[in-house]
């Protein structure tokens, strides 16, 4: 949605009465290069690696139909890793003055000399070529406190007016940059912005709760009014839930719920763990499951910093350029994540970690999924997911903020929330339909995650929750 019809904005900034990002809060490419160069020149180590980051983060929080807290934080950090032979150690600070940089370098070197050898240490990367990241939007960096407050009003005003609703929400806007360099000529720089809005509306009688959320590098792409309205509608629809028996159900999971569970596969994608026998992708008898079909053939999960929905940082923490990786393709475990050390040991190519995940979407609409379901459950989002068994990526957690019964192709009633014990691997073997993918907003780990709506059978609900 455009700026003007989302929050009624459109006035010139000078009339809004408060500034957006403080001057100098985001380190420029040239400043980062200069800072890293100064550290490299100060260093007496065999090799030195320098990380620089910083930016401005602003937020507004509301709850119980009123403003709660709001703030703006400007911060930055430099980290210095000194290397002598196979020894290395790191110090970091948020004081970027010359005097501080000198201390950081000296301390890093002193600490390195005290450290034991690291037999797995590899020399730093030489200069790399990076495609420029596309995750920075000037309009997001310019958002003011008044604009954030007005966005909050998209939920607060209708909730107050209704008289029987309580709105709680959070808007966070960040703009910043980081850079990485070393004494071998490596230099990587990336700027990024993120705007994120989540809103929960509860009915005053305590029997209904609805949630909606969105995230995008461009503030103008967040449709605050529509999201607020969705949360309100879900809250009303979810009033007075009835209990139905736990068990295995056909479930339609909205993208947030899919992402809550499926992104957890990322933590098990390390090649080393699989090769060493402590992963869901370990092959009985030895080796890993790469090349094996592990889920439904319609499932493809990738990461790609240049994907228009992900727009992630184009390099990893060591400066390795990131490109499109298919982790699961047409149901087959196509790739595991190889660190530089493990790749060298195994004769593979280092490919960075699964730092952002996208599950390729399908074409079935949520309405069609519901229509084709004789009896099933619609889930808005999941909550408090914790790993129960790493051997199968089995997680437990609960449904939350809008759980509905589907009967004969229609949503018929709100139902009480369930606890589940389920693995994304089990679930992705039970796929019945796939909807379009969207970027989700409620991920606790942060970072871009893009997921579709899914219809799956035999989802394992193990107990009922009285929580609304």
């Amino acid at each position: 949605m455009s700026r003007s019809n989302s929050t009624g904005r459109g006035e010139p900034k000078r009339l809004l009465g408060n500034t957006a990002i403080p001057a100098g809060a985001i380190i420029t490419r040239e400043q980062a290069q200069s800072l890293i160069g100064r550290v490299v020149r100060m260093s007496k180590a065999d090799e030195v690696i320098v990380g620089v980051g910083g930016g401005y983060q602003s937020d507004v929080r509301f709850a119980n139909n009123q403003m709660s807290t709001a703030g703006g934080v400007s911060n930055g950090q430099v980290s210095v890793t000194s290397v002598f032979g196979k020894k290395h150690a790191t110090t970091a600070t948020n004081d970027l003055s010359d005097e501080s940089l000198k201390r950081v370098v000296e301390q890093s070197e002193a600490l390195t000399k005290l450290s034991p050898d690291d037999p797995e240490w590899l020399p730093g990367l030489p200069s790399q070529t990076y495609m420029p990241g596309r995750g920075y939007v000037e309009a997001t960096a310019e958002v003011t406190a008044t604009e954030r407050a007005r966005a909050a009003l998209t939920a607060l005003e209708p909730a107050r007016k209704a008289g029987d609703l309580n709105a709680a929400g959070f808007i966070i806007v960040s703009a910043g940059a980081n850079a990485l360099g070393n004494s071998k000529g490596l230099f990587a720089y990336n700027r990024a912005t993120i705007a994120n809005y989540t809103v929960t509306v509860r009915t005053a009688d305590g029997t209904g709760s609805g949630w909606a959320g969105a995230e995008h590098p461009d503030w103008r792409q967040i449709d605050f009014r529509k999201l607020s309205a969705t949360a309100i509608e879900k809250a009303r629809l979810s009033r007075n839930p009835v209990a139905i028996e736990p068990g295995r159900y056909t479930v339609i999971l909205e993208p947030q719920a899919v992402g809550d569970l499926v992104q957890l596969i990322g933590g098990s994608l390390g090649a080393r763990g699989a090769d060493e026998g402590r992963s869901a992708f370990t092959k009985a008898g030895g080796g890993n499951k790469m090349g094996e079909k592990i889920v439904d053939q319609r499932v493809t999960i990738i990461s790609d910093p240049f994907d228009s929905q992900l727009l992630a940082q184009p390099y990893d923490g060591q400066g390795l350029p990131l490109s499109r990786q298919a982790w699961i393709e047409n149901g087959v475990l196509k790739q595991l994540a190889y660190s530089r050390f493990w790749a060298q040991k195994q004769g593979k190519v280092a490919n960075g970690g699964a730092t952002s995940l996208k599950m390729i979407g399908g074409t079935t609409s949520t309405a069609d999924m519901i229509k084709s379901t004789p009896r099933g459950i619609l889930v808005t989002r999941l909550w408090y997911l914790r790993q129960v068994d790493p051997r199968t990526i089995l997680f437990t957690g609960l449904t939350r903020d809008g759980t509905f019964l589907i009967e004969n192709g229609k949503i018929t009633k709100a139902i009480k929330n369930f606890r589940f014990n389920e693995s994304p691997l089990f679930m992705l073997n039970n796929v019945e339909a796939i909807g379009p993918s969207v970027r989700i907003a409620g991920t606790e780990g942060g970072g871009p995650v893009v997921m579709p709506t899914l219809k799956v059978k035999d989802f394992n609900f193990t107990s009922l929750s009285d929580a609304v």
Binding site: Q57, N64, T93, Q107, S115, R160, R391, T396, L398, R400
Partner: protein, 540 residues
């Protein structure tokens, strides 16, 4: 709650979101044994900067303001088997200013510790508060607080862990790793030493100037055993609780001496019997029960949750509304007493003054089994005036305001919430002896609870069958599901004072932006009747 992914993201959602968007560099962890790179200004300069912030906020229109200038240090050594994985020191210093304008909050924070820097942060706090007036409903009102113009406090460490050379730390860990690896069947060991030191300075427009030094220590140690055919792997971790003490605590743990025991437990889990589902009497060790207390008593009795202030994230609470539960909700048996405190020596949430300048007092959250009081800040205490008036007690904050950094706004965070010992001098073995058929659970494992803190599921580290008053064979794939009020009302035995011990978390997540808080829970071994146990060992 301990956050999702154990708040592996240090610093919570804010830091994670920023890092993920490329603002910070998450790849660069840090450490050292020397003073950090950032240095706090001298004491009188800190005071001057704080006064500058307060005066600026007041001049700009704030009716109340407080400022925190702090230095937050982390120091880590992580190892695996016989190698160092990471050695790093992080150091962060800056100022956070909170301002109240026409009953609306604003907050500004900066790393620039100059008069201009802190003044700019103060002006920003006021500007944000003014901007937010358009969305204000009820104005914030603060409960009274005594002023402390020259207060100091230090946590109860005797050996500052930051003075211990890194090679000494590494040597200890590698020795312990080697002992664990000697146990047949053990393939992997991950261990670490994680130290925190916070120098916190606080001042408010109500006249307080407070300086505190806080040290905490964590000793993660996890052993992994893999079956010969690679069909199974099992871990034993979390045997050493984090603490609000220093290096002396590390020495007391005898890592080298205990590592073989933890390793053997990991190996035993490979051949342990998979549990039969059903209802069992559970005998829960303090190393396990602390987390159940945290999730099912600590969080639901936070007043901000009960009033809906966490509704969009961590959730609300079944312990609400206050007028329906205070003095009326039977949380557990009559012998159940739960205390909120920030006074217990060595506990992770122990402080001298909270982040609103309140000197906390101990208070009973559950008294003789009945819900008695919430955790509060100055803003919240007024909401319970009717309750305190009825008890003839003054309206005052319980001192539960806390921020995890100078760059985070303070809000309601949990004090130490502890189950007090029973009057009988009994312990773990007595509870086992008194149980015919049950399961004993040691250590904390997987944990999950709903957003109103009713339905929970907890795993553990080590499980033993109890038959006819005796410990039998080891079990695995055990988790129990419960409904909070039913669970606590099923408690029929608790240990005495001699069996009391602390369990803790370094990473309790709450709030938006997310913050990570350290907290401890003291408790005694306890028995719970006929709890639903499930088997989590589902096969692929």
């Amino acid at each position: 709650m301990k956050t999702r992914r154990d708040f592996l993201k240090q610093g919570g959602m804010a830091a994670a979101a920023v890092a993920a968007s490329g603002v910070l560099n998450p790849a660069h962890a840090i450490i050292s044994t020397r003073p950090g790179a950032a240095e706090m200004p001298p004491e009188d300069t800190v005071r001057e900067l704080m006064m500058t912030a307060l005066n600026t906020a007041r001049s700009a229109g704030a009716s109340y303001s407080d400022v925190r200038i702090g230095r937050y240090r982390n120091s880590i050594v992580f190892t695996r088997e016989q190698q160092i994985v990471n050695t790093a020191d992080t150091d962060s210093i800056g100022a956070g200013v909170r301002a109240l304008v026409d009953g609306t909050w604003g907050f500004g924070a900066t790393k620039t510790l100059t008069r201009d820097g802190v003044a700019a942060a103060a002006r920003e706090a006021v500007a944000i508060a003014k901007a937010n007036r358009i969305a204000r409903d009820q104005p914030v009102q603060l409960a009274p607080v005594q002023s402390y113009p020259n207060a100091t406090w230090k946590s109860s460490f005797t050996i500052d862990p930051f003075t211990i050379p890194v090679e000494q730390r590494a040597e200890l860990l590698l020795k312990a790793n080697a002992e664990a690896m000697k146990v047949k069947g053990v393939q992997f060991v991950n261990s670490g030493l994680f130290f925190v030191k916070e120098d916190r300075n606080f001042a408010s427009t109500e006249g307080s100037v407070i300086a505190q030094t806080i040290v905490r220590t964590s000793v993660p140690f996890t052993v992994t055993a893999v079956s010969a055919d690679r069909s199974d792997f099992q871990t034993r971790g979390g045997a050493v609780a984090p603490i609000g003490r220093g290096w002396e605590y590390v020495l007391e743990q005898d890592l080298v001496g205990n590592a073989p025991k933890w390793a053997e437990e990991a190996v035993q889990k490979l051949t342990a019997k998979s549990v039969d589902v059903g209802r069992y009497d559970l005998v829960l060790h303090p190393s396990h029960l602390w987390l159940t207390i945290h999730e099912s008593i600590g969080h639901p009795t936070e007043l901000d949750r009960a009033m809906g202030y966490e509704a969009n994230y961590a959730g609300t609470s079944f312990v609400s509304p206050p007028d329906k539960v205070l003095g009326k909700l039977k949380y557990g048996p009559e012998f159940m007493n739960v205390r909120g405190d920030r006074s217990e020596p060595g506990a992770c949430a122990t402080i001298g003054y909270d982040d609103e300048g309140v000197k906390p007092e101990d208070f009973l959250i559950i008294k003789n089994g009945m819900f008695n009081d919430y955790q509060t800040t100055r803003e919240q205490a007024n909401w319970l005036k009717w309750w305190y008036d009825s008890k003839n007690t003054p309206v005052r904050s319980h001192g539960c305001s806390n921020a995890d950094s100078w760059s985070s706004v303070q809000f309601q965070r949990m004090p130490n919430v502890s189950l007090l010992p029973g009057t009988r001098d009994i312990g773990w073995n007595d509870l086992i002896s008194a149980t015919d058929r049950g399961i004993a659970i040691i250590g904390d494992g997987s944990f999950s609870i709903d957003q109103q803190r009713y339905n929970a599921q907890f795993g553990g580290q080590v499980f033993y069958e109890i038959r006819n008053g005796k410990i039998g064979g080891m079990l695995k794939d055990v988790a129990y599901q419960m409904r909070t009020p039913d669970f606590w009302n099923s408690m029929d035995m608790i240990g005495g004072a001699k069996s009391y011990q602390l369990g803790s978390s370094f990473n309790d997540g709450k709030g938006q932006p997310g913050q990570s808080n350290a907290v401890s829970h003291g408790c005694v071994p306890s028995r719970f009747k006929q709890i639903n146990v499930i088997n989590t060992g589902r096969k692929a």
